[in-house]
Symmetry: D5
């Protein structure tokens, strides 16, 4: 597990016999543009079907906050968040949608999905 | 039947020969976080296709109000409401969507479904 | 034909060789709760694919107004409107969506569909 | 070609090897109710996949304006606009959605579709 | 490569083993109507699944700005943007939606899609 | 006191040493047009500064409901509600704003004020 | 009285001892541009404090409809409506706000007021 | 100081030489109707100009939460919150606006103000 | 008169005996940033009380379009538009509000007023 | 001048003979709560009437960004921004409105004003 993954805590899913959706929308994500050094802002939407583990909400907030002073591109940060959460929670299905604020008159959205092979 | 299920009353579905949808949206749900003791707030959306029984609206409101001082997690309360209503109404289909207010900058939604086996 | 059905007038569908949708949204529906005697309010959405007959709009308004002082439950009035309109218009497809105002902190929607067997 | 069709002009579709959508939304349509003589108002949404011809926008506006003092029913005008445009443009697919303003407390929508047989 | 394509820069997609969506919405697009010489305004929405290359955002903004004083029709500019981006990025899937401001009381949308043959 | 005024109940204002505002917004008001016999619908906004008495909310609802089958004009019903409430509550200040639904393409608002002479 | 003023009917104001506001909002006004012959569309908001007379609503709608095929400029039609209504109703105060739809990318509002000298 | 006032903590206003506004909007207030035992819900807006003391935000939240199971009327709770805060903070100016959810089809707002005599 | 002022045409105000408001809102203004060469976009709101002359709408549009390729700062362009219009129309009162799109995460508004000395 | 003030650059106001408003709205402000170490987020609205100097927009953005990792309270940061800008620009009038995101279910706004003595 990498450093950021260590920030993520989980708890046992009590309803494993049933597929159900969990969504956490975090409109206060911020990181730094590696090219210009200027701050980036995004709304991060996490949707998943848990298997054995659920993401603990406060640890997830701390995980997102850990990007605050990191220089990282839109595409990288969105894929990175998916990879870290899949590694830690091993969900049946997961999707990350990152809606970035306007830069140079352009608003961007990155959307990445994961589906477990057994599903 | 558990204590909360006893609060739920039903009436006979007069249109059993037809599949149709009933939705009750309750934006005033509140319970208590078992960790922090702070109140949680949610909009609870119940959608179902009745079989022989419909949920009586006033008893459903009393049922939801009974969680007011209970300490219970997001995932548990949503699955619990589904289980209680399925037990009492035995619907053809039912879905509970619980939209929780922002906590620590993050808004959460839990969505759970039930489909009767004969359907 | 029952008394309320007699209020409904129709005109011939000039475009029977083509399936097309007609929607009439009536946000001013009101009836009376049979339990409490208090007025209920709803937005009634009628969607249908006509066969040989279309509902005449003014007669439909009068039909809806005829419920003004009737004591009738949400589920009954919605199914009743569908049954009356199907009986009079014999459409290829019809759906009634009744969106009721908040009562006791809860807003309700009832949605009923009809599909003709030959369709 | 009838008189109204003569108002419609077309230009050659430069991208015939590709299916793509064109939508023109005209919120200022007005005609006259043939029963009451009162003006009707609608938002007319035209969506189509062009084949060899596209509708020229200014001529389409003039075509819609030609209904200004015509007495014509909701269902007729919507089907009529579809028929005229299909006759003149011979599209691969076309849909007309006419959203009429509230009359007698009721708002109406008529939606008609055409699909070419070779499509 | 034509002159406008030369403005577009790309960078390597680090997550080629996964299909994911990128969307860039540019509400400040403007060109000139070739008939009247009057300016046109549009919101250009680019959605794509990258293969080996992603579009660099600043170069994409410069590419869109290069149309500022060009006389070009709605249908042409939308298809042209798709063709240029497909040529340069060779994506797995791409869609351009151009939402043009009201002209003569009518708002227009053009939507063009590309799907790679191997996909 | 007339018949409708008898429906209105009051309770003592506990904070008479202070001017403060009370607003009750009732979006479900309905009466009947004395000319056409068709139902009218309005949102009734009551704002007042209480003196010795406050309007009891449930009795106020019953008072408004008593107009349900009365034939009465917009201007009359608005002035009438003000007069009845002033008679019963004797407030320091009161305003009634009645926002009527669209009839014949026109939405109407009537706004009437009362200020006590000693104020 | 000119021809259009003859269309306006009035009824006696029953509450002349009190200043109160009446507002009629008519979003379906249409006339014709005298220069281009193209239709214009506006939302006409009439606000007034009646003296001895109120405008009868249906006659006001017919009055507004009488402009449908008249060629008249924004500024003229707004001042004209005020002048006609003042002549016929002799109100204590009156304001006409005319909100015209976008033409050539520009939306226009004209606002004219009248105050009686004795007020 | 009463029991609830003891929950409120303050901190010193560092900018006493300047009048400035502080607003805290709390959309999650809930108490209980003393008549029916049913829960009430309100959005509480506190606006004030501090003198020597500012309200500490977390203690203010706890103060509001302390009403959760209290039976108290709309008018009382709003005046009570103002009185408690004035007692503890001694502000130059303060206003409480309490916007209560729909009950029996009626939404209510209570607005109370305080101005210090020396101001 | 400078070059841009020559683009502005006027017509005689037929209602000079009365003060009234004219507003033209132009959401499609664009010029160029003199520092970066990047396009700027603004919504220009012109409000005025005419004296002897009104601005002709089409010439005003052409006047605004003449800034399309000019390099000019926010503050300058807003004051310049006011000065040019005052020079040409000599209004009793005029206000220009320029709402600029987000640049570097910041949206800007400039608001400039003129009042004639005789007013 | 303190360290943060050094980040602010100005340019000469070309229109000093006229009072006019400049507004810059910065929805991406973020600092850190000195108590909890958690990030705070705000929309900072700066409104002012310039005297001899205007704030340069890019330097203002850098100034706001300099608070990103500072621990500072709501009231302090809002007053601090006003003081720094007044010191550097010496405006005729200035107002800072800081709208902070929801924390513990409560959204906060701080509004501070400055008026020059000679004004």
């Amino acid at each position: 597990m990498n450093n950021k993954q260590n920030l993520l805590e989980t708890f046992e899913n009590e309803y494993q016999d049933r597929d159900y959706f969990i969504e956490h929308e975090a409109p206060e994500f911020t990181s730094v543009c590696p090219k210009t050094g200027q701050p980036d802002f995004a709304n991060i939407i996490l949707e998943y079907i848990p298997d054995q583990l659920c993401v603990e909400l406060k640890s997830y907030k701390n995980y997102l906050n850990s990007f605050r002073n990191d220089g990282i591109f839109y595409e990288s940060v969105t894929n990175r968040i998916l990879d870290d959460l899949v590694e830690v929670c091993k969900p049946r299905y997961m999707r990350i949608t990152a809606e970035f604020n306007i830069r140079g008159g352009i608003a961007s959205v990155i959307e990445v999905e994961y589906e477990s092979e057994e599903d």
